[in-house]
Amino acid sequence: MNFEEHAAKPLLKAAGITVPESRLARTADETAEAARDLGAVVVKAQAPAGKRGKAGGIKTADSPEEAKAAAEKILRLEIAGHAVEKVLVEERSDIKREFYAAVLNDPATKGPLVMFSTEGGMDIEDVAEKTPGAIQQAKVDIRQGFGPQDAQEMLEGLDLGGARDGIADVLVKLYDAYRANDAELLEINPLVVTASGAVVALDCKFVIDDSAIKRHRELAATGTPDKLTELEARGEEAGIKYIELDGDVGVLANGAGLTMTTMDVIRHHGGRPANFCEIGGEAYTKAKPALEMVLDKPGIKSLVVNFCGAFARCEVMMDGLLNAWDEISPDLPVFFSVAGTGDEEAIKMLKDRLGADPLSDMDAACKAAVDAAQEEAKGGNGG
């Protein structure tokens, strides 16, 4: 889950990293009021996505009037699909130099990675492409942690003026905040040195590891959940992984790999999947709410049910599905592929209760569903 700047910066502050004085404002008037207290400010759109500057979401203001005018513009913006509803009004810093600092989970080394660059204020992806030599990286043994010595080693040989110790201190504290909050990514860009020599975090990006939210409930409440469609939100509520897509062939399967493959095979046969919906793992008892969700997608013309039981047992999934089927009595063609743990029982159930047989394999089921959807579409167009 992503956190907006105003929700991420308190983590830095709590770790002992200096951040500018700021206020959160929801209206232009609140912005003007904050600027009266803070003096020269920067007004920053709050959105859970980057590139706010390019989108016109960051403006400087020397007076409350200017701040008000800036907020009026920014609060009308939409950034990466998110309507801007809040601005952070922040005391302006006298910037001498800009750096980049981050700690993240690195799949390649299977451990934390501390990153630092003297090229601050730009997208780190761009820096990595243009001047990869400007990025310092330190692999961390998570059992040992990252201490002052490690930070000094990482910064060795870099021209940092008198800010070396201040920056080293920030890196150590940033690592501690990353650990304490189960961050997937904790980034300061830019980390600046001011005219008075202070090292200050001007921005902060924080992504929490979704699997760790269960031990950070209070913190997670200040995050910005992914933007979900109505159906996707229903899936999340019910503990079912559901992603809405733009096609017309519904998909209900168990396990991420199998569900993805069902979508691939539908594509392979010239169809378009309407959704990703899987009831594998602990969700294998949830066939009923899953079916309801899949069927509620507007424009769905046929359905593939693909069960391949390992941990998820076919007979449990089939029973749930058939219960839901009886209740909803949907009027659309459905094609089954059933294999794995509990398949015999599930196939018998399907025959007894729906009078249907599974197709020979998932390709046959997907192809039949694609054909049926195309048939349906033609029929619809012809009146």
Binding site: I243, G309, T341
Partner: protein, 290 residues
Amino acid sequence: MIIVRRQHRVLIQGITGKQGTFWTERMQEYGTNVVGGVNPKKAGTTHCGVPVYASAVEAMKETSFDVSVLFIPPLGVKDAALDAIEAGARNICILTEYIPVQDVMYIMAAQGAETDITGPNTAGSVTVGEGFMGFMPAFNERIFNHGTVGVISRSGSLGTLMCQNIVSAGFGQSAFLGIGGDPIIGTTTREALEALDNDEGTEAVVIVGEIGGAMEEEAAEYAAGMDKPVIAFIAGGAAPVGKKMGHAGAIVVGNRGTYESKQKALQAAGVTVLATPSDVGGALKERLGS
């Protein structure tokens, strides 16, 4: 990575839970040599016909074991795995999904040279006719039949489907190695491929991969030097960019981890890349010449 054999002594951490009990019984029926279980609250009792110990360290003192299988909820996995590492397990099979990533990294850092970690978020592994670990339908003969095809899979469900297709095409498996769908896992596709390359009972390998990460590309480098034929299917070609497709590891960021990148690397290494899992039988016939 070890391929589980009949003589391997297996410990089940979390043996007394509902899933732990159900799958321990299936493993025992199949022939897996389960020598004990762990539950600190039930130490000294017997469950599924084997003794329950307070910890893996205790279990190692009382009865040696090679492999530990964890049926443990996400927030308990770190402690359980560290216990198994301290005990000196050769392999730890972590089935659990949604373990905090920093806990996983801690386990990986602690594992040492003597211990292999399989998973997290794996369905386990099967050595046909010898034993299985985790929750794979090893006992279903339409899915697992003795043969010479080794299977590596990030996904349990899709791996199961692939195994069924292999059997219905008239082939059988030597071993199924589930490696897990998380972004950070112990045994990689490449390491599993190496294990099957060195396995005498394996004549061909089927890799069931997914979009995301770089494991299939790394495996391709190894496959290029293999004599045994390798066949692969990569799931997620139709997945939208930037969305996690169920598995936390299955996400395409920018142009990293894409279907095309994996397909290209594998094909360049002489690997047959399947358009759909149903094509596996034909590909095996072609590559093995049956």
